[in-house]
Assembly symmetry: C2
Protein backbone atom coordinates (compact mmCIF):
# COMPACT_ATOMS: atom_id res chain seq x y z
CA UNK A 1 0.00 0.00 0.00
CA UNK A 2 3.01 2.26 0.37
CA UNK A 3 2.97 4.24 -2.88
CA UNK A 4 6.72 4.07 -2.84
CA UNK A 5 6.13 0.55 -4.06
CA UNK A 6 3.81 1.59 -6.84
CA UNK A 7 4.60 -0.12 -10.13
CA UNK A 8 5.20 3.26 -11.66
CA UNK A 9 7.42 4.90 -9.11
CA UNK A 10 9.54 5.82 -12.03
CA UNK A 11 12.51 7.98 -12.82
CA UNK A 12 13.33 11.32 -11.45
CA UNK A 13 14.26 12.69 -14.83
CA UNK A 14 14.34 16.34 -15.72
CA UNK A 15 11.65 18.40 -17.29
CA UNK A 16 10.24 16.83 -20.41
CA UNK A 17 8.52 19.46 -22.44
CA UNK A 18 8.65 19.29 -26.14
CA UNK A 19 6.97 22.20 -27.83
CA UNK A 20 6.16 25.53 -26.16
CA UNK A 21 8.77 26.06 -23.51
CA UNK A 22 6.99 28.35 -21.08
CA UNK A 23 9.26 30.83 -19.27
CA UNK A 24 9.36 30.38 -15.48
CA UNK A 25 6.69 32.56 -13.91
CA UNK A 26 7.89 35.52 -11.91
CA UNK A 27 7.02 35.34 -8.20
CA UNK A 28 4.82 38.41 -8.49
CA UNK A 29 2.69 36.42 -10.92
CA UNK A 30 1.34 34.42 -8.01
CA UNK A 31 -1.43 36.93 -7.48
CA UNK A 32 -2.62 36.59 -11.05
CA UNK A 33 -2.39 32.86 -10.72
CA UNK A 34 -4.58 32.78 -7.63
CA UNK A 35 -7.10 35.08 -9.24
CA UNK A 36 -7.54 32.55 -12.01
CA UNK A 37 -8.08 29.84 -9.43
CA UNK A 38 -11.77 29.01 -8.91
CA UNK A 39 -11.31 28.69 -5.15
CA UNK A 40 -10.00 32.21 -4.79
CA UNK A 41 -11.39 34.23 -7.66
CA UNK A 42 -13.15 37.30 -6.43
CA UNK A 43 -11.00 37.50 -3.32
CA UNK A 44 -9.85 41.03 -2.51
CA UNK A 45 -6.25 41.77 -3.62
CA UNK A 46 -5.06 42.54 -0.11
CA UNK A 47 -6.36 39.20 1.10
CA UNK A 48 -4.54 37.50 -1.74
CA UNK A 49 -1.36 39.18 -0.57
CA UNK A 50 -1.83 37.68 2.83
CA UNK A 51 -2.51 34.28 1.36
CA UNK A 52 0.58 34.37 -0.80
CA UNK A 53 2.82 35.43 2.03
CA UNK A 54 1.54 32.59 4.22
CA UNK A 55 2.04 29.98 1.50
CA UNK A 56 4.76 27.38 1.46
CA UNK A 57 6.57 26.52 -1.74
CA UNK A 58 6.64 22.87 -2.71
CA UNK A 59 8.25 21.21 -5.69
CA UNK A 60 8.31 17.67 -7.04
CA UNK A 61 10.38 16.08 -9.77
CA UNK A 62 8.73 13.91 -12.36
CA UNK A 63 7.45 10.86 -10.54
CA UNK A 64 7.63 12.52 -7.14
CA UNK A 65 4.65 13.00 -4.84
CA UNK A 66 3.08 16.01 -3.16
CA UNK A 67 1.06 13.69 -0.96
CA UNK A 68 0.20 10.02 -0.73
CA UNK A 69 -2.97 7.99 -0.52
CA UNK A 70 -3.66 7.31 3.14
CA UNK A 71 -1.95 10.46 4.41
CA UNK A 72 -3.82 12.74 6.80
CA UNK A 73 -4.79 15.78 4.71
CA UNK A 74 -2.47 18.40 6.11
CA UNK A 75 -2.27 20.87 3.23
CA UNK A 76 -4.19 22.46 0.39
CA UNK A 77 -2.28 23.13 -2.83
CA UNK A 78 -2.44 25.28 -5.92
CA UNK A 79 -0.31 24.19 -8.83
CA UNK A 80 1.98 26.91 -10.14
CA UNK A 81 3.80 25.09 -12.88
CA UNK A 82 3.96 21.58 -14.23
CA UNK A 83 1.35 18.85 -14.26
CA UNK A 84 0.04 16.61 -11.49
CA UNK A 85 -1.73 13.26 -11.68
CA UNK A 86 -4.29 12.49 -8.98
CA UNK A 87 -4.00 8.74 -8.86
CA UNK A 88 -5.60 6.02 -6.81
CA UNK A 89 -4.45 2.46 -6.42
CA UNK A 90 -7.05 -0.10 -7.40
CA UNK A 91 -7.76 -3.81 -7.36
CA UNK A 92 -5.34 -6.29 -8.90
CA UNK A 93 -2.41 -3.92 -8.82
CA UNK A 94 -3.97 -1.50 -11.23
CA UNK A 95 -4.29 2.23 -10.80
CA UNK A 96 -6.87 4.82 -11.73
CA UNK A 97 -6.14 8.40 -12.61
CA UNK A 98 -8.80 10.53 -11.00
CA UNK A 99 -7.69 13.59 -12.91
CA UNK A 100 -4.87 15.79 -14.07
CA UNK A 101 -4.15 19.13 -12.42
CA UNK A 102 -2.88 22.01 -14.54
CA UNK A 103 -1.33 25.32 -13.45
CA UNK A 104 -3.65 27.60 -11.43
CA UNK A 105 -5.79 24.65 -10.39
CA UNK A 106 -6.19 23.83 -6.70
CA UNK A 107 -5.73 20.26 -5.52
CA UNK A 108 -5.65 18.30 -2.32
CA UNK A 109 -8.56 20.19 -0.80
CA UNK A 110 -11.27 17.56 -1.07
CA UNK A 111 -9.84 15.39 1.70
CA UNK A 112 -9.37 18.52 3.82
CA UNK A 113 -13.05 19.49 3.60
CA UNK A 114 -14.14 15.90 4.05
CA UNK A 115 -11.71 15.46 6.97
CA UNK A 116 -10.82 11.96 5.85
CA UNK A 117 -7.53 10.33 4.97
CA UNK A 118 -6.32 11.08 1.47
CA UNK A 119 -8.02 8.88 -1.08
CA UNK A 120 -5.61 9.75 -3.89
CA UNK A 121 -1.93 10.42 -4.33
CA UNK A 122 -0.71 13.56 -6.08
CA UNK A 123 2.15 12.66 -8.36
CA UNK A 124 4.09 15.04 -10.58
CA UNK A 125 3.67 14.07 -14.22
CA UNK A 126 6.30 16.68 -15.01
CA UNK A 127 8.59 18.64 -12.76
CA UNK A 128 6.13 20.79 -10.81
CA UNK A 129 5.90 23.70 -8.42
CA UNK A 130 2.99 24.41 -6.12
CA UNK A 131 1.89 26.72 -3.34
CA UNK A 132 0.72 25.00 -0.17
CA UNK A 133 -1.17 26.11 2.94
CA UNK A 134 -1.76 24.05 6.01
CA UNK A 135 -5.31 23.12 6.72
CA UNK A 136 -5.51 25.33 9.81
CA UNK A 137 -4.45 28.42 7.88
CA UNK A 138 -7.08 27.77 5.26
CA UNK A 139 -9.72 27.06 7.88
CA UNK A 140 -8.94 30.33 9.62
CA UNK A 141 -9.05 32.22 6.35
CA UNK A 142 -12.38 30.67 5.45
CA UNK A 143 -13.81 31.50 8.85
CA UNK A 144 -12.93 35.13 8.19
CA UNK A 145 -14.29 35.01 4.64
CA UNK A 146 -17.48 32.95 4.71
CA UNK A 147 -18.29 34.02 1.17
CA UNK A 148 -15.37 31.87 0.10
CA UNK A 149 -17.19 28.79 1.33
CA UNK A 150 -20.12 29.69 -0.87
CA UNK A 151 -17.81 30.13 -3.83
CA UNK A 152 -16.22 26.81 -2.96
CA UNK A 153 -19.49 24.97 -3.28
CA UNK A 154 -19.72 25.44 -6.99
CA UNK A 155 -16.42 23.93 -8.11
CA UNK A 156 -17.14 21.13 -5.70
CA UNK A 157 -20.52 20.49 -7.27
CA UNK A 158 -18.93 20.56 -10.70
CA UNK A 159 -16.47 17.95 -9.54
CA UNK A 160 -19.29 15.73 -8.39
CA UNK A 161 -20.95 16.05 -11.76
CA UNK A 162 -17.70 15.38 -13.54
CA UNK A 163 -17.39 12.22 -11.51
CA UNK A 164 -20.85 11.16 -12.62
CA UNK A 165 -19.87 11.71 -16.22
CA UNK A 166 -16.86 9.48 -15.90
CA UNK A 167 -18.80 6.88 -13.99
CA UNK A 168 -21.30 6.74 -16.77
CA UNK A 169 -18.68 6.48 -19.49
CA UNK A 170 -16.89 3.74 -17.65
CA UNK A 171 -20.03 1.79 -16.90
CA UNK A 172 -21.72 1.93 -20.26
CA UNK A 173 -19.20 2.54 -23.06
CA UNK A 174 -16.54 0.62 -24.94
CA UNK A 175 -12.87 1.29 -24.49
CA UNK A 176 -12.39 2.90 -27.89
CA UNK A 177 -15.23 5.31 -27.20
CA UNK A 178 -13.86 6.13 -23.76
CA UNK A 179 -10.41 6.82 -25.12
CA UNK A 180 -11.83 9.14 -27.74
CA UNK A 181 -13.77 11.08 -25.12
CA UNK A 182 -10.84 11.37 -22.76
CA UNK A 183 -8.63 12.64 -25.55
CA UNK A 184 -11.15 15.28 -26.52
CA UNK A 185 -11.38 16.35 -22.91
CA UNK A 186 -7.63 16.49 -22.43
CA UNK A 187 -7.28 18.48 -25.63
CA UNK A 188 -9.87 20.95 -24.29
CA UNK A 189 -11.82 20.26 -27.47
CA UNK A 190 -14.96 19.67 -25.51
CA UNK A 191 -17.69 22.18 -24.76
CA UNK A 192 -18.88 25.09 -26.84
CA UNK A 193 -15.77 27.21 -26.64
CA UNK A 194 -13.88 24.60 -28.61
CA UNK A 195 -12.98 25.11 -32.20
CA UNK A 196 -14.74 22.52 -34.32
CA UNK A 197 -11.99 21.68 -36.75
CA UNK A 198 -8.66 22.97 -35.55
CA UNK A 199 -6.21 20.22 -34.78
CA UNK A 200 -4.93 19.80 -31.25
CA UNK A 201 -2.27 17.83 -29.48
CA UNK A 202 -2.22 16.17 -26.11
CA UNK A 203 0.87 15.27 -24.13
CA UNK A 204 0.18 12.10 -22.24
CA UNK A 205 1.56 8.61 -21.88
CA UNK A 206 -0.52 5.79 -23.25
CA UNK A 207 -0.23 4.20 -19.84
CA UNK A 208 -1.92 7.29 -18.39
CA UNK A 209 -4.67 7.12 -20.96
CA UNK A 210 -5.25 3.53 -19.93
CA UNK A 211 -5.48 4.52 -16.29
CA UNK A 212 -7.88 7.31 -17.17
CA UNK A 213 -10.28 5.05 -19.04
CA UNK A 214 -9.94 1.94 -16.90
CA UNK A 215 -8.16 -0.20 -19.43
CA UNK A 216 -4.63 -1.36 -20.22
CA UNK A 217 -1.77 0.25 -22.10
CA UNK A 218 -1.87 -2.66 -24.56
CA UNK A 219 -5.43 -2.02 -25.57
CA UNK A 220 -4.89 1.72 -25.79
CA UNK A 221 -1.89 1.18 -28.01
CA UNK A 222 -3.91 -1.02 -30.36
CA UNK A 223 -6.68 1.57 -30.57
CA UNK A 224 -4.29 4.42 -31.27
CA UNK A 225 -2.47 2.36 -33.89
CA UNK A 226 -5.71 1.71 -35.68
CA UNK A 227 -6.54 5.42 -35.61
CA UNK A 228 -3.10 6.26 -36.89
CA UNK A 229 -3.47 3.82 -39.77
CA UNK A 230 -6.68 5.55 -40.80
CA UNK A 231 -5.05 8.97 -40.53
CA UNK A 232 -7.12 10.14 -37.60
CA UNK A 233 -4.20 10.93 -35.31
CA UNK A 234 -0.45 11.39 -35.22
CA UNK A 235 1.44 9.48 -32.56
CA UNK A 236 4.77 10.31 -31.06
CA UNK A 237 6.23 9.41 -27.71
CA UNK A 238 3.96 10.97 -25.07
CA UNK A 239 2.23 13.04 -27.68
CA UNK A 240 -1.02 12.46 -29.56
CA UNK A 241 -2.12 14.91 -32.22
CA UNK A 242 -5.73 14.89 -33.29
CA UNK A 243 -5.68 15.52 -37.04
CA UNK A 244 -9.38 15.43 -37.69
CA UNK A 245 -11.41 16.61 -34.70
CA UNK A 246 -14.67 16.35 -36.60
CA UNK A 247 -14.30 12.68 -37.39
CA UNK A 248 -12.95 12.20 -33.92
CA UNK A 249 -16.05 13.65 -32.37
CA UNK A 250 -18.17 11.18 -34.28
CA UNK A 251 -16.41 8.36 -32.49
CA UNK A 252 -16.84 10.08 -29.16
CA UNK A 253 -20.48 11.16 -29.30
CA UNK A 254 -23.00 9.41 -27.20
CA UNK A 255 -25.08 7.29 -29.57
CA UNK A 256 -28.08 8.10 -27.41
CA UNK A 257 -27.77 11.82 -27.91
CA UNK A 258 -28.06 11.33 -31.65
CA UNK A 259 -31.45 9.64 -31.72
CA UNK A 260 -34.43 12.04 -31.61
Amino acid sequence: MKPGKLPLARGRSEIDQRPPRRPPRDPAGSAGLLQRCPLFEGTAPEDLEGLISSAHRRTAKRGGFFFLEGDPPSHVYVLVEGKVRLVRSGARGREVIVGFIEPAEPFGYVAVWAATARRVSAQAAQESRALAWDAETIARFMAQHPEMAMRGLRPMAERVEGGWDRLRDLATGRVEWRVARVLLRLAHLTGRTADADSAAAVEVREQDLAELVGSTAYTVSRILSAWKRSGLVDIRRERIAIRNPRRFREIAVDPMDASP
Copy 2:
Protein backbone atom coordinates in the same frame (compact mmCIF):
# COMPACT_ATOMS: atom_id res chain seq x y z
CA MET B 1 -33.26 11.53 -24.51
CA LYS B 2 -36.64 12.21 -22.98
CA PRO B 3 -36.61 9.99 -19.91
CA GLY B 4 -40.24 9.26 -20.54
CA LYS B 5 -38.85 6.97 -23.21
CA LEU B 6 -36.50 5.22 -20.84
CA PRO B 7 -36.60 1.47 -21.19
CA LEU B 8 -37.67 1.20 -17.59
CA ALA B 9 -40.45 3.74 -17.44
CA ARG B 10 -42.32 1.03 -15.72
CA GLY B 11 -45.54 0.50 -13.86
CA ARG B 12 -47.18 2.83 -11.48
CA SER B 13 -48.04 0.10 -9.05
CA GLU B 14 -48.78 0.62 -5.38
CA ILE B 15 -46.36 0.46 -2.52
CA ASP B 16 -44.25 -2.63 -2.52
CA GLN B 17 -42.78 -3.12 0.90
CA ARG B 18 -42.37 -6.56 2.26
CA PRO B 19 -41.09 -6.65 5.77
CA PRO B 20 -41.06 -3.74 8.24
CA ARG B 21 -43.99 -1.55 7.35
CA ARG B 22 -42.93 1.80 8.75
CA PRO B 23 -45.83 3.94 10.00
CA PRO B 24 -46.32 7.20 8.04
CA ARG B 25 -44.37 9.97 9.70
CA ASP B 26 -46.37 12.64 11.45
CA PRO B 27 -45.97 16.11 9.90
CA ALA B 28 -44.40 17.44 13.11
CA GLY B 29 -41.64 14.88 12.56
CA SER B 30 -40.29 17.02 9.76
CA ALA B 31 -38.15 18.99 12.15
CA GLY B 32 -36.47 15.87 13.43
CA LEU B 33 -36.03 14.70 9.88
CA LEU B 34 -34.27 17.86 8.84
CA GLN B 35 -32.04 17.75 11.87
CA ARG B 36 -30.82 14.35 10.78
CA CYS B 37 -30.10 15.78 7.34
CA PRO B 38 -26.42 16.64 6.83
CA LEU B 39 -27.27 19.81 4.96
CA PHE B 40 -29.24 21.26 7.85
CA GLU B 41 -27.90 19.69 11.01
CA GLY B 42 -26.91 22.33 13.49
CA THR B 43 -29.43 24.79 12.14
CA ALA B 44 -31.32 26.65 14.85
CA PRO B 45 -34.81 25.24 15.54
CA GLU B 46 -36.57 28.50 14.67
CA ASP B 47 -34.84 28.55 11.30
CA LEU B 48 -35.92 24.98 10.71
CA GLU B 49 -39.50 26.08 11.36
CA GLY B 50 -39.17 28.66 8.65
CA LEU B 51 -37.68 26.17 6.27
CA ILE B 52 -40.43 23.66 6.86
CA SER B 53 -43.15 26.20 6.38
CA SER B 54 -41.66 27.33 3.07
CA ALA B 55 -41.31 23.79 1.77
CA HIS B 56 -43.48 22.25 -0.89
CA ARG B 57 -44.67 18.67 -0.63
CA ARG B 58 -43.92 16.37 -3.53
CA THR B 59 -44.82 12.74 -4.03
CA ALA B 60 -44.04 10.17 -6.69
CA LYS B 61 -45.43 6.71 -7.26
CA ARG B 62 -43.09 3.82 -7.98
CA GLY B 63 -41.46 4.56 -11.31
CA GLY B 64 -42.40 8.25 -11.21
CA PHE B 65 -39.87 11.07 -11.36
CA PHE B 66 -39.12 14.03 -9.11
CA PHE B 67 -36.99 15.53 -11.86
CA LEU B 68 -35.48 14.50 -15.17
CA GLU B 69 -32.05 14.53 -16.70
CA GLY B 70 -31.70 17.72 -18.71
CA ASP B 71 -34.11 19.75 -16.58
CA PRO B 72 -33.01 23.12 -15.26
CA PRO B 73 -32.39 22.57 -11.55
CA SER B 74 -35.31 24.40 -10.02
CA HIS B 75 -35.61 22.72 -6.64
CA VAL B 76 -33.70 21.10 -3.81
CA TYR B 77 -35.27 18.08 -2.12
CA VAL B 78 -35.14 16.13 1.10
CA LEU B 79 -36.65 12.67 1.02
CA VAL B 80 -39.23 12.10 3.72
CA GLU B 81 -40.34 8.58 2.96
CA GLY B 82 -39.65 5.98 0.31
CA LYS B 83 -36.58 5.40 -1.79
CA VAL B 84 -35.23 7.30 -4.80
CA ARG B 85 -32.85 6.20 -7.53
CA LEU B 86 -30.55 8.83 -9.00
CA VAL B 87 -30.13 7.48 -12.49
CA ARG B 88 -28.29 8.60 -15.57
CA SER B 89 -28.78 7.36 -19.12
CA GLY B 90 -25.63 6.01 -20.69
CA ALA B 91 -24.23 4.75 -23.95
CA ARG B 92 -25.91 1.95 -25.89
CA GLY B 93 -29.23 2.36 -24.16
CA ARG B 94 -27.87 1.40 -20.78
CA GLU B 95 -28.34 3.28 -17.54
CA VAL B 96 -26.20 3.93 -14.51
CA ILE B 97 -27.51 4.37 -11.01
CA VAL B 98 -25.51 7.13 -9.40
CA GLY B 99 -26.95 6.38 -6.00
CA PHE B 100 -29.97 5.61 -3.88
CA ILE B 101 -31.51 8.23 -1.62
CA GLU B 102 -33.02 7.18 1.69
CA PRO B 103 -35.30 9.13 4.04
CA ALA B 104 -33.73 12.25 5.58
CA GLU B 105 -31.21 12.48 2.76
CA PRO B 106 -31.11 15.58 0.56
CA PHE B 107 -31.02 15.21 -3.20
CA GLY B 108 -31.13 17.36 -6.28
CA TYR B 109 -28.85 20.00 -4.83
CA VAL B 110 -25.68 19.27 -6.78
CA ALA B 111 -27.00 20.68 -10.04
CA VAL B 112 -28.33 23.69 -8.13
CA TRP B 113 -24.91 24.58 -6.71
CA ALA B 114 -23.21 23.82 -10.01
CA ALA B 115 -25.85 25.83 -11.88
CA THR B 116 -25.93 23.31 -14.71
CA ALA B 117 -28.72 21.28 -16.25
CA ARG B 118 -29.61 18.17 -14.29
CA ARG B 119 -27.22 15.33 -15.03
CA VAL B 120 -29.36 12.66 -13.40
CA SER B 121 -33.03 11.81 -13.07
CA ALA B 122 -34.59 11.18 -9.67
CA GLN B 123 -36.92 8.23 -9.92
CA ALA B 124 -38.98 6.76 -7.10
CA ALA B 125 -37.95 3.18 -6.45
CA GLN B 126 -40.91 2.95 -4.08
CA GLU B 127 -43.78 5.31 -3.52
CA SER B 128 -42.04 8.36 -2.07
CA ARG B 129 -42.67 11.67 -0.37
CA ALA B 130 -40.25 14.58 -0.30
CA LEU B 131 -39.95 18.18 0.79
CA ALA B 132 -38.88 20.63 -1.90
CA TRP B 133 -37.66 24.22 -1.92
CA ASP B 134 -37.06 26.34 -4.95
CA ALA B 135 -33.52 27.31 -5.66
CA GLU B 136 -34.12 30.99 -4.87
CA THR B 137 -35.49 30.21 -1.43
CA ILE B 138 -32.47 28.09 -0.63
CA ALA B 139 -30.10 30.69 -2.03
CA ARG B 140 -31.70 33.38 0.13
CA PHE B 141 -31.54 31.16 3.18
CA MET B 142 -27.90 30.41 2.56
CA ALA B 143 -27.06 34.06 2.09
CA GLN B 144 -28.54 34.69 5.54
CA HIS B 145 -26.76 31.69 7.05
CA PRO B 146 -23.26 31.58 5.58
CA GLU B 147 -22.25 28.94 8.09
CA MET B 148 -24.54 26.61 6.23
CA ALA B 149 -22.35 26.87 3.17
CA MET B 150 -19.38 25.80 5.24
CA ARG B 151 -21.33 22.85 6.55
CA GLY B 152 -22.38 22.07 3.02
CA LEU B 153 -18.81 21.71 1.85
CA ARG B 154 -18.25 18.60 3.84
CA PRO B 155 -21.02 16.36 2.53
CA MET B 156 -20.08 17.59 -0.91
CA ALA B 157 -16.46 16.59 -0.41
CA GLU B 158 -17.59 13.21 0.84
CA ARG B 159 -19.64 12.78 -2.28
CA VAL B 160 -16.63 13.53 -4.43
CA GLU B 161 -14.64 10.92 -2.56
CA GLY B 162 -17.45 8.42 -2.84
CA GLY B 163 -17.41 9.00 -6.57
CA TRP B 164 -13.71 8.25 -6.65
CA ASP B 165 -14.31 5.02 -4.81
CA ARG B 166 -16.85 3.88 -7.33
CA LEU B 167 -14.70 5.00 -10.23
CA ARG B 168 -11.89 2.91 -8.90
CA ASP B 169 -14.04 -0.14 -8.36
CA LEU B 170 -15.50 0.12 -11.80
CA ALA B 171 -12.15 0.66 -13.48
CA THR B 172 -10.11 -2.00 -11.76
CA GLY B 173 -12.32 -4.77 -10.39
CA ARG B 174 -14.27 -7.73 -11.70
CA VAL B 175 -18.05 -7.78 -11.72
CA GLU B 176 -18.38 -10.33 -8.92
CA TRP B 177 -16.18 -8.23 -6.68
CA ARG B 178 -18.10 -5.07 -7.52
CA VAL B 179 -21.43 -6.71 -6.78
CA ALA B 180 -20.15 -7.91 -3.43
CA ARG B 181 -18.98 -4.42 -2.51
CA VAL B 182 -22.18 -2.75 -3.59
CA LEU B 183 -24.23 -5.21 -1.59
CA LEU B 184 -22.19 -4.58 1.53
CA ARG B 185 -22.61 -0.87 1.04
CA LEU B 186 -26.36 -1.11 0.49
CA ALA B 187 -26.67 -3.31 3.56
CA HIS B 188 -24.81 -0.65 5.56
CA LEU B 189 -22.38 -3.40 6.50
CA THR B 190 -19.45 -1.24 5.56
CA GLY B 191 -17.37 0.95 7.83
CA ARG B 192 -16.48 0.47 11.45
CA THR B 193 -19.95 0.83 12.91
CA ALA B 194 -21.03 -2.32 11.14
CA ASP B 195 -21.56 -5.55 12.95
CA ALA B 196 -19.08 -8.12 11.72
CA ASP B 197 -21.30 -11.18 11.61
CA SER B 198 -24.93 -10.25 11.86
CA ALA B 199 -26.88 -11.07 8.75
CA ALA B 200 -28.51 -8.31 6.76
CA ALA B 201 -30.93 -7.99 3.92
CA VAL B 202 -31.10 -5.59 1.02
CA GLU B 203 -34.17 -4.76 -0.99
CA VAL B 204 -33.13 -4.15 -4.54
CA ARG B 205 -33.85 -5.44 -8.01
CA GLU B 206 -31.09 -7.36 -9.72
CA GLN B 207 -31.49 -4.94 -12.59
CA ASP B 208 -30.65 -2.12 -10.20
CA LEU B 209 -27.61 -3.96 -8.93
CA ALA B 210 -26.46 -4.30 -12.52
CA GLU B 211 -26.92 -0.57 -13.08
CA LEU B 212 -25.01 0.16 -9.90
CA VAL B 213 -21.99 -1.91 -10.87
CA GLY B 214 -22.01 -1.25 -14.60
CA SER B 215 -22.99 -4.71 -15.69
CA THR B 216 -26.08 -6.57 -16.88
CA ALA B 217 -28.93 -8.21 -15.03
CA TYR B 218 -27.92 -11.53 -16.63
CA THR B 219 -24.46 -11.48 -15.16
CA VAL B 220 -25.71 -10.34 -11.78
CA SER B 221 -28.22 -13.16 -11.73
CA ARG B 222 -25.49 -15.71 -12.47
CA ILE B 223 -23.30 -14.36 -9.71
CA LEU B 224 -26.10 -14.36 -7.17
CA SER B 225 -27.13 -17.88 -8.17
CA ALA B 226 -23.60 -19.11 -7.60
CA TRP B 227 -23.54 -17.45 -4.18
CA LYS B 228 -26.89 -18.97 -3.32
CA ARG B 229 -25.67 -22.44 -4.29
CA SER B 230 -22.76 -22.05 -1.90
CA GLY B 231 -25.04 -20.82 0.87
CA LEU B 232 -23.66 -17.30 0.96
CA VAL B 233 -26.94 -15.52 0.35
CA ASP B 234 -30.69 -16.02 0.26
CA ILE B 235 -32.49 -14.72 -2.79
CA ARG B 236 -36.08 -13.71 -3.10
CA ARG B 237 -37.75 -11.31 -5.49
CA GLU B 238 -36.21 -7.88 -4.87
CA ARG B 239 -34.57 -9.10 -1.73
CA ILE B 240 -31.09 -10.40 -1.05
CA ALA B 241 -30.16 -11.63 2.41
CA ILE B 242 -26.49 -11.90 3.28
CA ARG B 243 -26.18 -15.04 5.39
CA ASN B 244 -22.49 -14.94 6.05
CA PRO B 245 -21.13 -11.40 6.13
CA ARG B 246 -17.67 -12.55 7.11
CA ARG B 247 -17.21 -14.76 4.08
CA PHE B 248 -18.87 -12.08 2.03
CA ARG B 249 -16.36 -9.52 3.10
CA GLU B 250 -13.56 -11.78 1.91
CA ILE B 251 -14.95 -11.59 -1.58
CA ALA B 252 -15.28 -7.85 -1.35
CA VAL B 253 -11.93 -6.86 0.14
CA ASP B 254 -9.41 -5.14 -1.98
CA PRO B 255 -6.67 -7.71 -2.66
CA MET B 256 -4.19 -4.86 -2.43
CA ASP B 257 -5.13 -3.95 1.11
CA ALA B 258 -4.26 -7.47 2.21
CA SER B 259 -0.68 -7.62 0.97
CA PRO B 260 1.93 -6.14 3.32
